[in-house]
Amino acid sequence: MKQLVLLSGKGGTGKTSVAAAFAHLARHGPSPLPIVLADADVDAANLELVLAPERIEEHPFVGGSVAIIDPALCEACGVCKTTCRFEAVVPGESYRIDPIACEGCAACLFVCPTQAIRMEPQLAGHWYRSQTRFGPLFHAALRPAQENSGKLVTLVKQQARLHALDGGFPALIVDGPPGIGCPVISAASGADLALIVAEPTVAGIHDMQRALQTTAHFRIPSLVCLNKWDVYPEGAQGIESWCQAQGIEVVGRIPFDQTITQAMVRGEPVTAHAPEAPASQALLELWKKVTTRLDAGKEP
């Protein structure tokens, strides 16, 4: 079973539209490839919006704990406040914890002379197994301000992976979160191939380079595709030259095409909505190249 992860240095590069098109092409494209999908962009889990799946399972996801002060036991001595490094203790007649600021370190619990503090696990969100028209989708929704998305990414990906292994699916496509932080690292770990979706903006090349540094750090073979390349052809050229110099293959150029947005509004992958559109044609070519590379990648 091969694992492909889609990444971008920054949000809004069209990564999810690419993932949705891949899901459609895997099922209805020239050489069908049964896939499992994992939406690891848990902070903005958008794949569900394009693929309109039916939810089959819902599981609560318990994240880290936060401290809670029992007002009946608190003597307002203030030791917790001087101990806390996250400015999470709010003084008052009895002290209380700001759950949003609390990092869950429990330092206050150990110093409280009246044992008024306990740690309570927080419901961070839910994860789901769903069925789309193109295959199973594992995804999650995190409540705002909840941390631990790295753990949730690991969980969603692991569930998707096990499902793929059990069901004999040859490929898993992970729609990764943007950036370079903990959730990205969790999404990319164990991938056989990464596809970085980049935009040819002045910022885009930096974002792409940072994403590539992350995949290089974990020795994941990486390809680049350019989205909306014709919005700034000189910028696209700059990215391509840089990639060429670094020995990184640019495997696709998707033109700026309003059909993509129209498809999104309709809740469809663009390749299903308008197969003849320029963007759909480019995505089909991209998909062919990526699947070739995924198979020729390396040992299982």
Partner: protein
């Protein structure tokens, strides 16, 4: 959007302090073109165990909620990338065998940008998992002048780095687009803003590309739409080249000023 607002303020002689809090991908500098004059490493304090004093009692590993310190036989290992720098292990060590030493997570940079704007940003080192401390330090490090407005350009999403960025602000301006994706993300961001009790305003970017759902949602929730930026290929092309909205369409100046005035009015003070 944030950079255009900053330039608009600067044009009125109220040059703000601009903080690029998107420490995983700081880009605002490409638009505001700052010259960095100050630089400072961001570090957090992580534990170091003095082996001579350590009795391998295991208390540090027991109190660490992040499993960033492990006691294996007579050895104590510290895993800096798991450490949240809470200091609990040092506090709880019965032998006083733990000291704290700085560990670098990223860098802060500051300097003047276009039109008198004061600019500062944080940059996280690649491979470092925690953006929160870099943002927290950036906000402490770069202090505004007397009465100077601070514009914080937050990272996307609603996770910990976003909370860290917007905490302590007076107003939350959410930039969205009129599509199902935009609406989905907007709802989460609004929920977060409400949890933090922040007044919220909405900017609809790329107006006209999608549907009317965002507008309806704002109507139902009573969220003011402070600005609509029409969808135009010229804007997409200009932004790709590092030009701000204000530079592409100077006539947007009046509308950006109106946004700032509306925010000021909602806060009960002039912008």
């Amino acid at each position: 959007m944030a950079t255009s607002l900053a330039l608009s303020l600067a044009a009125d002689g109220k040059a703000p302090l601009f903080l690029d809090c998107d420490v995983e991908a700081p880009n605002a500098g490409l638009f505001l073109k700052p010259t960095f004059e100050q630089r400072s490493d961001v570090s957090v304090l992580i534990p170091r165990v003095e082996e001579a004093c350590c009795t391998s009692c295991g208390r540090c590993a027991e109190v660490c909620q992040y499993h960033a310190i492990a006691v294996l036989g007579k050895k104590v290992l510290v895993f800096s990338q798991l450490c949240h720098a809470c200091g609990s292990c040092r506090e709880q060590c019965p032998e006083d065998a733990i000291r704290e030493v700085p560990s670098v997570l990223g860098v802060l940079e500051a300097g003047p940008a276009q039109n008198g704007i004061a600019f500062a940003r944080g940059m996280m080192d690649v491979g470092e998992p925690m953006a929160g401390p870099v943002i927290r330090k950036l906000k402490q490090w770069a202090s505004p002048g007397d009465g100077q407005i601070v514009i914080l350009d937050a990272p996307p999403g609603t996770a910990c780095p976003v909370v860290e960025s917007i905490r302590g602000s007076d107003f939350l301006l959410l930039v969205t687009e009129p599509t199902p994706f935009g609406l989905h993300d907007l709802k989460l961001a609004v929920q977060l803003g409400q949890e933090l009790s922040l007044p919220i305003g909405v900017v609809i970017n790329r107006d006209g590309i999608g549907d009317a759902e965002v507008e309806q949602y704002c109507g139902t929730e009573g969220l003011p739409i402070l600005l609509r930026v029409p969808f135009e290929r010229a804007i997409a092309e200009g932004t790709a080249r590092g030009r701000t909205l204000l530079e592409i369409h100077p006539q947007m100046g009046a509308r950006l000023r109106a946004v700032l005035e509306q925010i000021g009015a909602r806060l009960g003070s002039p912008p």
